[in-house]
Symmetry: C2
Subunit: 492 residues, 2 copies
């Protein structure tokens, strides 16, 4: 268990220890009944006072995450968390527990793949909405003509034809770039990870939206970053607060999802985009513009990407294709320039020597065909119908204490509940009905807010959506009526 203490942070050390252990539990990295280090051991390991550790353990026990057994020690207790999917290792070697790791958090994985019947927790696309049959035919044709694709490494930077195809694709989104400035990645998750491993180290400051994409939090936490957060309103990141923060803390990276923000769905107007670029310029920092799904707009095209407004090489643009085309290929790209690009390319080489050539070649014929644009059009329509359905059910069935953003695109609806409800607890009940959603706690890098949840409407069909969202509304009603699932989040 790796606990990183930041002595000059605004968060007290007691709370840092509390949150770090909670992150480990939530990431399923500490198994039920596992013994924690003694207060003495942990205080020595972290170089903090005994009292600080005692307070953190007391709060964890009070909140039901650990149990102290007189004369025996302190143990993990998971009953207040949702039930874990992991089997207990039949072969757990005790000595391995002494091997320290650098893995403070890995929460997103738990929600990304779950066997529940009604899966509203991750924003995957219903396979029925993707052009599998066409793709399959194109792949057959490509491999018949050139079977050696199977026996060759691609270029580390990515297949040249795919990079060219992506340049044309991005051009249609009014984002001019060149094949030399494109790096093919294994999804945008890898893009985030490449940037973090290259430019972020212990104590480097990363600014994130709160809430934000949990998979990005996992990555930056893993690099020991000091994460500072900026709240989000209906126009995305509160840029008015960013100025002061950047002046004071000199961030190395600002991570943002400006279009159909994850998880809220907010769209950042051009003015704010430009303001962030100005701040990046004056503080000489990098901006990660994560763009998972700007193609999925319901009314009008969203504003131009920040990358297209950037004249000085500050923006690293990430475009994943898994939300619109072929998640089974896991293709994403990263676009940036100058020495930043060159260093990311070196990191990609160290990581995996380049993405598989097969998956890259597989999608080229489709994305360069006219069908791609037709497909996106149909996808927008289909997802808008599902989104409207969810909004309709919410209007009819959600208790009046619940509010939500009305998304203008994307794959999610973000709900805000009364502040005393903890959606971690609500999720346990939902799972009993074979329904999952993403609890708000996973989306906050530092100070958690537990009274939100994200519903993804992209994976389930209309019948499943109706059943799932109605059931969640009913659970919320009971919760509010009976005052259950009360929050016990840390107040130090």
């Amino acid at each position: 268990m790796h606990i990183e203490i930041q002595r000059n942070a605004d968060v007290s050390i007691t709370k840092q220890i509390y949150l770090s252990i909670l992150d480990h539990i939530r990431s399923d990295l500490l198994e039920e009944e596992l013994q924690l280090p003694s207060v003495r051991e942990l205080s020595k390991q972290l170089g903090v006072s005994l009292v600080t550790v005692v307070k953190a353990y007391q709060k964890l026990e009070q909140d039901g995450f650990i149990t102290s057994v007189q004369g025996k020690g302190t143990f993990i207790r998971k009953i207040k968390m949702e039930e874990t999917e992991s089997k207990k290792g039949t072969n757990s070697y005790d000595w391995q527990l002494s091997v320290q790791d650098y893995l403070p958090r890995s929460q997103f994985a738990r929600f990304h793949q779950v066997p529940e019947k009604i899966h509203l927790s991750s924003s995957m696309i219903d396979p029925g909405l993707l052009p599998n049959r066409y793709l399959e035919q194109e792949i057959h044709k490509m491999l018949s003509e050139n079977p050696k694709v199977l026996s060759q490494y691609g270029e580390i930077q990515g297949d040249k034809a795919l990079r060219q195809a992506m340049v044309e694709y991005l051009q249609r989104m009014d984002l001019p770039t060149s094949p030399d400035n494109i790096l093919v990645t294994s999804g945008s998750q890898q893009g985030i990870d490449l940037i973090a491993r290259t430019f972020v180290g212990p104590g480097d400051v990363v600014v994130m939206e709160a809430p934000t994409y949990p998979g990005a939090i996992d990555v930056f936490r893993g690099r020991g970053a000091t994460i500072l957060t900026i709240p989000v309103d209906s126009d995305g990141m509160r840029v008015d607060l960013l100025h002061n923060l950047c002046d004071k803390y000199k961030p190395k990276i600002i991570y943002t999802v400006p279009t159909f923000h994850n998880p809220t769905g907010a769209v950042m107007p051009t003015k704010r985009r430009r303001q962030i670029l100005e701040i990046a310029k004056s503080t000489q920092c990098l901006v990660i513009e994560d763009d998972p799904c700007s193609e999925i707009y319901f009314e009008r095209k969203p504003p131009a990407s920040m990358k297209s407004l950037d004249k000085d090489g500050h923006v690293i643009y990430l475009k994943g294709l898994s939300k619109i085309l072929a998640p089974g290929c896991r293709i994403g790209i990263l676009a940036t320039s100058g020495s930043i690009f060159k260093r990311l390319l070196a990191a990609k080489a160290n990581t995996d020597l380049g993405s598989p050539l097969l998956t890259q070649k597989a999608i080229i014929p489709f994305i360069t065909s006219k069908r791609m644009m037709d497909h996106l059009k149909k996808l927008r329509t289909a997802l808008k119908i599902r989104c409207d359905l969810v909004l309709e059910i919410l209007s009819q069935h959600a208790p009046e204490e619940v509010s939500w953003f009305i998304p203008k695109g994307g794959l999610n609806v973000w709900l805000t509940l009364p502040s005393w409800i903890n959606t971690d607890h609500l999720l346990i009940e939902a799972k009993k009905e074979q329904i999952t959603f993403l609890p708000g706690s996973a989306c906050y890098p530092t100070e958690q807010e537990n009274h939100h949840l994200r519903l993804s409407f992209s994976y389930m069909n209309e019948q499943q959506l109706t059943q799932g969202v109605t059931t969640i509304c009913n659970l919320l009603k009971s919760a509010i009526d009976l005052k259950i699932y009360q929050d016990s989040s840390p107040h130090f």
Copy 2:
């Protein structure tokens, strides 16, 4: 430019600075004519004396890697290195140079993919020796039956059917394991990287063979590890030296390629494998057993894997398939158990949310068929013929001052030249003849030996091998006769 100084290392700080800058140049991370920080700046940044930096710069200048211009500063000078393939960025933003990175080295990429006519520098397999047509037919069949493979994320741990298939495959290699203990990776490069990011941090001790696989050096250096080396003889790692080293320095990880060691081709006997396991047990450290090509034996099957001898969960076994089946799919696996496995799985989630499903499903029918074993048999025969050819040419044409290991399998021959020859310089001449090889310098984690080179015989056909190896022999003859390509490696 990130220079990591280790104050308690055996290597002087001057030399650490020298080697670190050289690593950046060799990784193509410092462009020609780029200005280095002034002596004053660098000494301040690293917290070392001015004299220390002056000495390192003097040595770099003396060896021809940098130039000082009176009143202007110190600049990178690449003429003594091989010519670089990179184009100079048309859009290099000066401010970007102030963005510090955590990327000390990325050398392997330079040799992994090069456009030279006679490519002896990386141990890729001739596509003509791989079963592309069969694979293509199987993929067609699989996708026709189940096109949704294209539209689904696989499990983060890897597709269950592939994990099961790999269990059966490993069973035939006398390595019993279970699908729960297998993690599918994007080649074994990603396996090494996952282990490093999870368990290695600044100052953690990693023991490596010297020489060793350059791609692994790049990864561990990137984590700020203190790398200690053990020399290799014809039985692989000198285990007699490992004992003392481990007693003194308590490594966290021992990285080894016990079977057809890269680059020398040595095979470690069972006795040494057991000794390493004993040492791992007594020091509670992890062992990475990297197995790129134990299937490619020329006489008899190599000894049982270390993993199969390990009863206590110390070994993390890496099996890449890119050397034997379909590099275009980039499939590898990692096998280990207990909490070590669980933590690596979490790291995989953070990195890329799992390997693409398409490439995993693509190879299952072939590796579970009888054809797989027939294919390996043919591959062994074909590669033995090529290896014998190279050895034959060397016996006939290499100067008597040159010696080499006779490989019992694998893809490479390792040559040792008179100690005053620097193969970095020889490579420049070879490239003029459109021939590449891997210079020894890339294979040493710390103290470099420049008078070795690795020839890979797996990618070129017999005619190309004949031409390439004969030409290298002739270059060596001239070098020895004329006493050129003299080494100027650091003697502090």
